[in-house]
Every structure is written in C-alpha cells, then in structure tokens.
Symmetry: C2
C-alpha cells in the first residue's frame, strides 16, 4: 500500500505519494490561493492528490490513507479547529476531502507531522523517542514517543514554543509571558537585530540586508555574525543561549534520544549546532549520563509530505 | 498475585504488601539509619519485606515482584546511580535485595513511583496521561503516559523541577539558572519568607514559627497568608504565580489529563488549589479548549509504597 501526504501551507499545497518506508514516490504542488476560503482549497488538495496518484502510475485502490499537515490544530473528528495564519476556524477538512477521495483522512499540526517524518526517515530515524523543533516564524514542536506522535490528552501537547523560559519576559501572542518562541524563533532573532542596529547603522547586519531594515532576515544576522560583526555576534550568542535553555527544558522533561532542529534558522548548519551543543552541555543536569543528541533535521521541505503520509500508517 | 512496595526515605524504610488494584494489604516500617551505609539498609528492606509478607498471612510464593522507590536515579540493571540526600552512588540495590528475596526487583525515582500510584489508585486514576508533582525540598515530577511510567530515553525524563522558568534567574544546585524548583519548592517558599521578614519582624510569619526564624516552614507562610499578613500574602501570591507558570509549561508540552499535586505545600489544600487554578487559567494558550485538571494528590504517604509495588505489574 501507498499513502498520500498533503502539506498545506499559506503559499502552496504540496502533495506526495509516499511508500511504507517513508519514501516519496512522486510529488506535485499548486498555489494555495487562500483568499478563496477553505472549501476550494481543500477541493484542490483532493484533485491534486488524484493527479499525483495517477501520474505516479498508481490507482486510488493502492492508497491506504491520506494525511494532511496543517499550520494549526485539528480534532479527532477531522475538523481543523484553528489555523491562525490561514484564518481557518472550525473547517470540516476530512468531510470535504472525502467527497473527492473516499479514504481515511488524518490531520495533524505541521510541526508534529515533521517530527513523525524525521522519526521515520530523517534525523531521528530508528529511535523510539524524539522531538522535532522548527525555528521559523514561531518555534514549532513535535514529540514522538515510542515511534508514535504524542499530542497529549487534548491535542495541544507539543506546543513547545509556548513553554515560558522567562516568567516575567516579553508578552507572547498567546497571552502568557516569556514564551520560548519570543526568544528562539527566527522572528525573535530578526526583531532583536532590528532593535540593536537602531543605534548602530554601521553593523554588517544592515549591509547583509542591502541597507534595507525591512529586508533583515535570520540569514543576515547569521552571516554578519560569521563575519565577526560585534552586534550580530552578541545577538546570535544570546539567541543560542535561549535556544539551549529551552532544549535543556525538553531534556529534563521529555528526555528524548534525538532532538532534531529544522526551520529557517537551521540553515546556519554547524554554525548553529556547534555552539548550541556547547551551551546545552553547560546547562545539563546529570553531567555524567548520556542525553539527547541534537541534530539538524534532514528532510527539509519534504518533511510535511512524508510525515502527513505516515499519519495513516 | 501480590506485590511488595518499598519506599526508601532518609528517615524511614516503609514496606507494604499491595494488591493488583493498588490497595495496601499490610504495611510496616523501620528507621533507615543511613549512617550504616547502603548494604545494611538494603538488607533491612529485604528482611522487613519478608516480615510484612508473613504478617499479612501470605507466602513469598504469592509475591510477583518487588518495587523500590528511591530519592534519586536508578538504571535498568537495578543499580542506584545517584541519591543525593542518601549520599548513595552506584549501589547494586537489586543484587543485594535478591540475596534476601529472589524476586524481580524494579527501582525508580520516588516522585515517579508516586505518579504511578496516583494514576493507579489516586487523583489521576483511570486517565491514560497524567503528571504528578511533589512540592517539597525540591519540585519532583513523574510522568505517566498511556498508563505507564514515562522516564525518557536515558532515565532522566520527568526532572520537571529543573525546567528553567527564568533563564537569568537564581542558580540551581544542578548548575543551571532559574530552575522551577528554585521558585516552587517548599524550600523556595521558606527562603523567600526568611528574606522578606528580615526587614519586617512584625510579620505574622515569624509569630507562626514561635518567633524562631529557623523554625519557619511552608505552613507558617501559608497560615500567615490566610490571616492576611501582607508579607506572607505577597510571597505566597508570587509562589503560586511561579507554580502556575511551570504547570502551564507542562500543559503546553505534555498536555496530560490530570496534574496531581502532592508534597508538603499541598497540605494547604484548596487554599493552594483555588488561586493556582485561577493563575493557570490566565496563562493557558488555547482558551477555548479543555486542558488538564489540576487536583490534589490523594495517596499522601502511601503513594511511595503503592507506586513502587505497581512497578512490577
């Protein structure tokens, strides 16, 4: 049997046909065109799934299940409760999808499905317990326990970006204070850079962005830091410290075998991982015992398709 | 079949014979007398187990397994890696115990076994995913996932007291900064009270301790707060706020059905639980979704015996 994995993003819908082993056999994508509202978007997800099956030389009968990764939260009835960036609220995704392909439809959070993908075919392949973190607009997290996604008792487990690491810190969009993503997301890195260069227009961060403050992204800060720019080095160092604090919190609570790091900031590669591992080592509780390996996620943009597909396995 | 549960503390060894359902059939205790070193203590654990079996009218053949809850960490080989308060390091507990009773011996952390006890026969009975917290000298934690103890991949999972809730906060005995137990243990409450009354000898906290600073305990602060003492109210309010921050971190990561609260501070009962639930409610991420019930642990001193016994089930 094969599986359909759908990665629903704000810009594109990506669909792949995936083997039992988590290998993509064929994939395709179309623009999401969010402004149409949910129903036509979901219909396109179904139509593209049929096309991918056909183009790969398979039939609908070969497909065991469909999985969909959404940038939000879904319930056990296949209803998308909430996708802030898509502005979706209580959308009966499974029902609409099944009008086009009548297969079991599984829906989960995009960071959660990426965690499953990495655990099946990526950085944490083969280990029972792992955590995946995506450092992007926010800090997304997914937990795999005993080779299965762990979403908690109310489906909100693994909101790791909303662990508070500073009880009196910055207020988060969630209403609480000092949430980890206020310090360890790409957004936080960019915000801190913008604030810091206000008094320091000579910083290389600005040069990396072609002189346009609005164009500063995580790469600008990281590349300026590589070149030794003092402002960038300071901001990036603090960023890594916060990242380490949250990772040690995960080690002290969930104690996985692997913590896989993905998302935009992870493009820094070893320039992120090396100092991060050093910081984690300093903060670890049981210094004599083995603890989680911290690894770069390997599946990149395919994680959404593979992980969604594996939901139905 | 029946089970032996051993609760190893710094002052007493408590042993109980426990039914399949987690009910104590008979129990007894002897002083630990730590200064003798580990081996005689473990031999006493074995001898007392034999006595408890006999006194309860059972034979050794009726016993399926022995469980031991230790104030520290053990490995899969039945070796106690580390018990800071007992000053035990790499003690072959299982081996010595089996010289006295040759049954399977399971060893786990005392907070972890209490979590299992509450999940079998206490505040979280019947739900698959729960967390137990003990607010005492430190903040101990135990995680139960799918009705089983979850200790992580290296046995250090559920060190919830060492989640940092203030990245630049007080340094903890573990070496890291701002660990939850630096704010939410009974020790932290007492420390804050002692610091606060330095400039305020009129505080009722001191009166509750009979005028002796060294006798201030959690009860003194809580009772002074009940009576409206402004210093006590402030300290207790802050204490509850920190407790809520850590609990919300657990909700956002592990999302259990029940969080059961035990340990000395929990003797405050609803005077703790009511404001705690209010604080948690303010900080919760998904305000419209159900989340963990926060309950008083119910098994008190029996939790160690029951949970240890259930390790072998």
């Amino acid at each position: 049997m094969v599986y359909i994995g759908v990665d629903l993003g704000g810009t594109n819908i990506a669909v792949g046909l995936v083997s039992e082993e988590g290998k993509i056999l064929h994939k395709d994508s179309v623009p999401t065109l969010l402004e149409r509202g949910p129903e036509p978007v979901i219909r396109d997800m179904g139509t593209l799934s049929l096309k991918v099956i056909k183009d790969a030389g398979y039939s609908v009968d070969d497909v065991k299940a469909i999985g969909v990764g959404v940038p939000g939260l879904a319930n056990a009835d296949g209803v998308v409760i909430f996708c802030p960036n898509l502005k979706w609220h209580m959308v009966p995704l499974r029902k609409i999808m099944q009008e086009i392909i009548n297969k079991p439809v599984f829906i989960d959070n995009d960071a959660t499905v990426a965690a499953l993908a990495e655990s099946v075919a990526g950085a944490s392949a083969g280990v029972p317990n792992s955590v995946f973190l995506t450092l992007g607009t926010g800090v997304g997290g997914g937990i795999v326990i005993n080779h299965k996604i762990y979403s908690g008792s109310h489906g909100v487990g693994s909101e790791l970006g909303h662990m508070s690491v500073k009880y009196d810190g910055r207020q988060c969009t969630c209403g609480a204070y000092g949430c980890w993503e206020q310090y360890s997301s790409a957004t936080a890195l960019i915000r801190n850079a913008k604030e810091a260069i206000e008094g320091h227009p000579e910083s290389l961060i600005l040069a990396e962005a072609g002189g346009d403050v609005e164009k500063i992204d995580a790469r600008c800060v990281i590349d300026a830091s590589r070149k030794g720019d003092p402002i960038a080095c300071k901001i990036y160092g603090e960023y890594i410290h916060y990242l380490a604090v949250g990772i040690v919190n995960i080690i002290n609570s969930i104690d996985p075998e692997v913590i896989a790091i993905g998302g935009g900031v992870s493009n820094a590669g070893e320039y992120l991982m090396e100092p991060l591992r050093e910081e984690v080592k300093k903060l670890i509780f049981y210094k004599d015992l083995p603890y989680a390996r911290i690894e770069l996620a390997t599946l990149k943009n395919d994680a959404g398709i593979i992980g969604s597909a594996m939901l139905g396995k």
